[in-house]
Subunit: 162 residues, 2 copies
DNA sequence: CTTGACTCTATAGCCGCTATAGGCATTACG
DNA sequence: CGTAATGCCTATAGCGGCTATAGAGTCAAG
């Protein structure tokens, strides 16, 4: 008892600022303070933070984690909704995998448009400029509509937790 | 010539605000204005916006699109870097697919922990609480580290463009 | 003449953090 | 004892790619 925030961060593999953020978001309880105003955590908090981190890695967002924590703290109703939640996530993951596979085939088709080394008339630019149906799957291709494809280009480098 | 922003939005399948946003970001040129201060676009702008949208659907971020547009406007150098860019995206997409597949197996494992209908001792909660190795792949499982898994839970519903 | 559809600007919010600035507390070393 | 390196504190702003809201001007139809 009396774990400081840096130690907790180390134990849970997340950042100090993230812990304070979770506190602000109401996922972690307001902790005791030492006489010099440092946050002091207990073993309970360690477990709770681990739970939160594990949920995050399973793709849960903070609102869902809040619900799960509320249930965990006070499991008065059936947990069927948790099964449904997980099923919903599985379906969403499957949707994303399908979208990414589709995207991949598009990108591969793009690559074939340009053999490289050329100084003008890049086939990739040309293909991206064309208004016609896509060479991969025609006018009904879902890439022609706004689809919930994750913007992989903007994902941070993992930088594996030290 | 003289396409108003609403029409352009309709033609390109994106929102009016998004067009203004692209202008602010320097992807679309500052357009002419009608005498009542409405933006007026040309066929060139239509093509440019289509190009941008198509790039977005291929997972390019705005910085990358800026580069592609600069090249398109003034293709003085070799386009090899565009091939590399697309290859980089393919690799990233593959990484995400692998991560999502892994995540899916985790979620499915979670589902098996709880047959449902029970009023306490939910197996999913218990599994997420446990500190031990994950039931799917042991302590070395990448889900135990911070991995660049897209937060599918927070993705907006596609709401397919009208 | 009012209603409704469209346009304009400016600002704030979304998510889950991450970064920065400025300051206090503790500890190690000389 | 001084001082430098940590670690902790608060508060605020920024990331990406939009989306939402507020408040106001413009225009055509009924």
């Amino acid at each position: 008892m009396g774990i400081k925030i840096g130690k907790l961060a180390e134990m849970s593999g997340c950042q100090v600022v993230t812990i304070r953020y979770y506190e602000k978001e109401g996922l972690l309880p307001v902790p005791d303070r030492s006489q010099n105003n440092y946050r002091l955590y207990s073993e309970n908090d360690v477990e709770r933070l681990h739970f939160i981190r594990r949920c995050r890695m399973h793709g849960m967002n903070l609102a869902e984690i809040r619900q799960l924590l509320a249930f965990k703290d006070n499991p008065t109703v059936s947990c069927d909704w948790i099964n449904s939640l997980v099923e919903k996530h599985i379906a969403e993951v499957e949707r994303q995998i399908a979208a990414l596979r589709h995207l991949k085939s598009h990108l591969q088709a793009l690559l074939r448009q340009c053999p490289g080394g050329r100084h003008e008339g890049c086939g990739i630019i040309a293909t991206l400029t064309e208004c016609g149906d896509c060479p991969c799957c025609g006018s009904s291709c879902s890439l022609h509509k706004a689809e919930g494809t994750p913007a992989h280009g903007s994902s941070k480098s993992p930088e594996a937790a030290k």
